[in-house]
Assembly symmetry: C2
Homo-oligomer: 421 residues x 2
């Protein structure tokens, strides 16, 4: 039984005829290595945005079911066109809609969850030596309606199919060559990470690195799918995300990430009575706003009043203020907000077993004269809120302190052959 691989191409990788043909060549090359290939395609370039604009022109609040019927057409077009290109290259391709591919979802339109993957038809086609192209981002609901999977849906489609047909690897082709140990725009000598564990890449995504979709990564982790994130514009290997236990040896620090997309809200004069923090958190939860960091400084004396600060995604700042103002008024607390804060984080599974990392972080930032306003940690992550303007300096300082540009992480590299499929 030959190996099987799932290849996922994003919208930029199929944006026009020339790129579609290039994707077709990549798919064919993989097939000619003797592998069984399933490719998941997104809609071409701006297709989805255009369709959303069409809908907005018709209706201020388009019906979700109809929105799904509308948006699901974009990926079908990509697959049909790519199949034509593959057939011209002398191979047999067949395009399948999400429904034909057996992606069964719940009925929550525009953000459906996959319930089951009935991959019989895909297996039949593979057994017929066909290359299978599947329209990403979509499925069919238990009510027989077309559904879409929401943001990052095509990645989820690819991972779900890889799990269902037990593919050796799920390749995610994007316009970046892989996961870097810092943002190359800030750290010119940032290095691409050849191998990374799920827990690390999940922490990285959560703390600002935007390479892979959290949702599909969670799915891959749960179902043990090996994900290979690589560039659709070059042949070099990208970053392979492997099971947490698979990494031979964990580096002390894997990457430095940052985010400037958060805001801070501070409530002062918080009455020192039980349950207040609970009511604040509840008010935010009811507004469906996630708190990232939160700190409370207890009053040192009866005179001083307690202060509560927390960070929220900047897009949610307005909503958070609205949700909290009534409570602030009721308890006569003062609400202040800092719209643009910076957050810099270091991620590394090795931290678990190496104490003293936090100390090195703090002193490094201290040396740079960067004031740390808030701190939050996890077993494999340390995040610091700093002045937004100092984020680049903080990232560079930490990147060099932990030798991420040099050989610091070389120890985890494996021969790529091991991951080649």
């Amino acid at each position: 039984m030959p190996g099987t691989v799932v290849m996922k191409f994003g919208g930029t990788s199929v944006a026009d005829a020339e790129r579609l043909k290039r994707a077709a060549q990549r798919i064919v090359a993989k097939r000619e290595e003797g592998l069984r290939v399933v490719a998941v395609l997104s809609a071409r370039g701006k297709t989805t945005d255009d369709l959303i604009a069409d809908a907005q022109e018709i209706s201020p609040h388009p019906d979700p079911r109809e929105m799904d019927m509308l948006l699901s057409t974009g990926e079908r077009q990509s697959c049909a066109l790519c199949a034509m290109a593959i057939n011209d290259l002398g191979h047999q391709a067949i395009s399948l809609t999400g429904s034909q591919a057996g992606i069964v979802t719940d009925t929550s339109h525009t953000k459906a969850r996959i319930l089951e993957v009935r991959a019989d038809r895909i297996r039949e086609a593979l057994d017929d030596d066909k290359i299978v192209l599947v329209a990403g981002f979509q499925g069919v609901s238990t009510a027989r309606d077309v559904t879409t999977l929401g943001r990052g849906g095509s990645d989820t489609t690819a991972v779900a199919l890889a799990a269902a047909i037990e593919a050796d690897e799920c390749e995610i082709y994007t316009d970046v060559p892989g996961v870097f140990n810092a943002d190359p725009r800030i750290v010119p000598n940032a290095r691409k990470i050849p191998v990374i564990s799920f827990e690390e890449v999940l922490e990285m995504s959560a703390s600002g690195a935007g390479v892979l979709q959290l949702r599909s990564l969670e799915y891959a982790r749960t179902h043990g799918v090996r994900v290979h994130c690589r560039s659709s514009f070059s042949d070099e290997p990208g970053t392979v995300v492997v099971g947490d236990q698979e990494t031979v040896e964990n580096p002390l620090i894997t990457a430095v990430t940052h985010s400037t997309g958060e805001s801070r809200i501070t409530l002062s004069h918080v009455p020192d009575t039980p349950g207040v923090a609970g009511r604040i958190a509840t008010a935010l939860a009811e507004a469906n706003i996630n708190i990232d960091m939160i700190i409370q400084n207890e009053p040192v004396s009866e005179a001083a009043a307690a202060e509560l600060s927390f960070t929220v995604p900047r897009d949610d700042l307005h909503g958070a203020k609205l949700a909290l103002q009534p409570l602030a008024d009721e308890l006569s607390m003062q609400l202040t907000a800092q719209e643009a804060i910076g957050k810099v984080s270091i991620v590394g599974a090795g931290m678990k077993t190496h104490p003293g990392v936090a100390a090195r972080v703090f002193s490094t930032l201290g040396r740079e004269g960067i004031n740390i306003e808030m701190i939050s940690t996890s077993p494999i992550k340390i995040s610091c809120v700093v002045d937004g303007d100092r984020v680049p300096d903080a990232v560079r300082a930490l990147h060099s302190e932990f030798e991420l540009s040099g050989e610091g992480t070389i120890q985890v590299e494996r021969p790529f052959g091991e991951f080649a499929t």
Copy 2:
């Protein structure tokens, strides 16, 4: 049980947001008359042409199955957008793909034939007081692949659904107000025909009137579907096509039609031996070319040689020449072609019972000094091939000779209420 109507809107009737909304209003108005409504939509404006161009850019000969997957997306977009508009008007609409609507076809991609209509899902939706929107032009094959029905496919979808759910009427909305008794561009006082029989409208379509699709008309005739061809830009009734037996009294002449899309091929020195005409017809049939008129003048003397002339669609002229040249060479016949010929026809079920119509046609054209080059007749049609430049004169002369601008056909008009649904 309230009445049921199928409304079909062509590409120009849903070309942009404004027109889509207008179509939605028409559909809603029909629903508010208390009728159960199924609407069949074509792809918006140039969508299909654009998708075909996209395919050509990828592949010189796109795979038919993939072509269907690609093209079928256009109608789905129209339906989803129209459903949004209807929902905003306070009604419940649901869009269905051809597959969801139960249009089962054979597997001949890009020109599939409808095998069966399993309208259960449509009936369920109608019973739920929903307005049902169906993507025209497409179905699902017995091999579970998306198929398209080829030219005029959406009309066929509408008629097939009307037959399956036993609709009282199938309304075909186009950018023309109905079937006219002559081309208004040539005859300014041409009249719209309120009621016409299938046999007449079929003859008209065959002889040049391009209002309705032959295929869907044949389907409607076979399944006894009443077709109402009307304008999507006005509320006035159009032309109702009824069963041949339903017309109370047939007018002598219903319409004058014309065509300039044909060419004539003449074979001279045809050997006066049996089977030659047969071989000629066979050669053309094998090239899949339909002959319209054909005349053979027998040699009056041994000296003279027989001549065989026939007309073919101008698009087939080149193919016809290629198909016949070998035979011409073998039998040393001379092949000449007249690329642009004109054909003018009069159609009327009343002819059957009124002799002398042909005589009036010939003398009318004679008075105008228009030479008749070929003649063909059917029980309800007389066609004459004339010089292409004289077609307009011929049409006007016959239109006035048979009083088609006046009260000549008023006798067949019925109160529209009888057809209102």
